[in-house]
């Protein structure tokens, strides 16, 4: 568990592994060394194309390539992929449902020092609102590698949300994943902590803190935010009666919203949400920002106690 790898690195390595499939084309917008598509570029330079600092153009070009049968991975920072290029993603990739995988790295506040302009906290909201878009936010290197490969095998547009920061490896090598299927990491019956991406590790730690107080928390990794695993969420609502969501994203429109949509329609239970409280981030060291904005096991623990009070009222 001590090993730490950024999900962007796992993404780059996975791309290089699946690159033997000659149908795969990788595009980047002058960030290959940061998005780690340079791993693919070194092995398959003839299928890696730099589009320059022109993200909207890259997405529409990806659509053109995909319309000719290519499986295209288009990479840039999440703030540009989902933000700047949104219209190209919506109209040229989403609407014609083309086979483009958007490798969006440097998501969330853990990009750190670059500050608010680069800290993408709205991408899940934007991407999951596009009909037919699959939205994946993996928590660690093992799940990232597996999900990148699965994304390449499925047909259709996929948004892969990846991080810059080195994060703990949570899963054992060889762990199996399915797009659209959540993973229960710990069983529990007092409440359920549902997390995705960077927040899975603090969620697990929060469950351990709760356990010390005799509270049994279930922990679920929702790596695929769309299509979301309704079954695992409804089961958690029925069996634990309370859900807290944890995401490195604005609490509006992201994982918390997606989970609550399932909960209120099927089996309403009290919920709490940990995430960015409708605010932009700021410059700073990643873990200082994590503390400041409450993306910590301690905050999950604190909000879990509030949630349990509501449940037991």
């Amino acid at each position: 568990m001590s090993e730490k790898i950024a999900t962007r690195v796992a993404y780059g390595k996975a791309l290089a592994e699946i690159g033997k499939n000659e149908n795969i084309i990788v595009l980047d917008a002058d960030l290959s060394k940061s998005t780690k598509t340079d791993f693919f570029q070194k092995q398959y330079p003839e299928r890696h194309f730099n589009i320059g600092i022109a993200e909207g153009n890259m997405m529409a070009m990806a659509a053109g390539l995909a319309s000719c049968g290519k499986t295209v991975f288009a990479s840039t920072f999440a703030v540009f992929a989902a933000g700047r290029a949104y219209d190209s993603v919506r109209n040229s990739i989403g609407y014609p449902h083309l086979n483009v995988k958007i490798g969006a790295t440097h998501a969330g506040i853990t990009i750190g020092e670059d500050g608010a302009s680069h800290q993408m906290l709205e991408d899940i909201a934007l991407m999951r609102a596009i009909p037919g878009m699959t939205v994946i936010s993996p928590a660690d290197a093992v799940s990232t590698a597996a999900l990148v490969k699965l994304a390449a095998e499925m047909y259709g547009p996929v948004y892969l949300r990846l991080g810059r920061l080195d994060v703990p490896v949570i899963y054992e090598d060889g762990a199996q994943f399915q797009i659209g299927k959540g993973v229960q990491l710990k069983d529990g019956n007092d409440l359920t902590i549902i997390a995705s991406g960077f927040m899975l590790d603090p969620a697990i730690k929060a469950a351990e803190m709760l356990k010390e107080e005799g509270i049994s928390a279930r922990v679920i990794d929702i790596h695929t935010i769309k299509p979301i695993d309704s079954d695992i969420i409804i089961k958690a609502a029925k069996e634990t009666g309370a859900i807290i969501t944890c995401e490195e994203h604005n609490i509006f429109g992201g994982l918390g919203s997606a989970v609550s949509e399932v909960v209120v329609k099927n089996y309403p239970v009290p919920m709490e949400m940990v995430g960015l409280e409708d605010t932009f981030g700021e410059s700073g060291k990643p873990y200082e920002l994590v503390e400041k904005y409450g993306l910590t096991p301690e905050n999950i623990f604190k909000k879990s106690k509030i949630l349990l009070d509501r449940k037991n009222k």
Binding site: A54, N57, A60, M61, G64, L65, S67, C68
Partner: protein, 278 residues
């Protein structure tokens, strides 16, 4: 081009123009002006130049066309219908709930449409992607695209132009439908894109200027584009907005307005008279 071929193309273009009027007047909305200005180019491409098969619209080896100025869907749809991709009668359903003929081209819904477009600047970028795919796969298909002159306001056009020349996509031929008018008025007054030719030359393109309504000039330019190696070609096609319908010609007001019933009847009568005169 021999006279017989030219005559047939002229007749076809007149029929396509009639289909445009039918489509927009049935819908009560749509974009006739820029559809009519582009018609002769569409006619030449689909009835003389492009390797397409209405029976196999997704043939991987086909030539491709991207209507980057997607609002001129009536022009593309009427061309595709007349070419046999779907029944001409279906044009009357344009923009209506019961029809598959979306307001802007949809590659999922409309047979023969190679790329969904509508948000300006994106179609040319997608065409660049298609041309790149052709190069990667060593295929001999060509990619055609049509841009509006007003569309040149979009920065993404120039991003795509830079990429096309960077990757030496000589299998890409694009047209600027240069009718001089956009919704709010003259392009030179709304946001002057001139000098258009110099701009594309500076971006590394082979540039040819033609009369958009002269089939000999269209053919010559398209052939020159095919002979040009190492760079994409931009054909700046000087056109008349609303071409073929007297009261629409050179009127910005007909950019995005549908003719009323009596106006449509007049337009169809004019076009029919022209067709019969050929």
């Amino acid at each position: 081009m021999d006279d017989k071929t030219k005559l047939e193309l002229k007749k076809t273009a007149a029929k396509i123009r009639m289909g445009i009027i039918t489509a927009v007047s049935s819908a009560g909305s749509g974009h006739p002006g820029g559809s009519l200005s582009l018609t002769d180019i569409l006619t030449f491409l689909y009835f003389h130049e492009m390797r397409v098969d209405p029976k196999n619209p997704k043939d991987p080896d086909r030539d491709r066309f991207v209507l980057s100025k997607g609002h001129c869907s009536p022009g593309l749809y009427s061309t595709l219908a007349n070419r046999g991709f779907f029944p001409v009668e279906d044009l009357a359903g344009f923009r209506q709930t019961s029809s598959y003929l979306e307001g802007h081209p949809s590659m999922c819904k409309v047979p023969g449409v190679d790329m969904s477009t509508g948000s300006l600047g994106q179609g040319i970028a997608a065409a660049v992607g298609m041309a790149l795919a052709g190069k990667i796969d060593n295929k001999d298909y060509r990619v055609y695209a049509a841009l509006g002159d007003g569309e040149l306001d979009e920065g993404q056009v120039w991003e795509a132009a830079m990429a096309a020349s960077h990757y030496k996509l000589d299998n890409l031929t694009a047209f600027v439908d240069y009718n001089g008018l956009q919704i709010d008025g003259k392009i030179t007054e709304v946001m002057n894109p001139e000098p258009i030719a110099d701009k594309f030359i500076a971006f590394g393109w082979n540039v040819i200027e033609i009369d958009a309504h002269d089939f000999d000039q269209i053919e010559e330019a398209v052939n020159k584009a095919k002979e040009t190696k190492g760079k994409p070609t931009m054909i700046i096609a000087h056109s008349i907005k609303g071409k073929g319908v007297s009261y629409m010609e050179n009127q910005a007001s007909w950019h995005g307005n549908a003719p009323k019933k009596d106006q449509a009847e007049q337009a169809l009568a004019e076009l029919n008279e022209y067709l019969n005169s050929l």
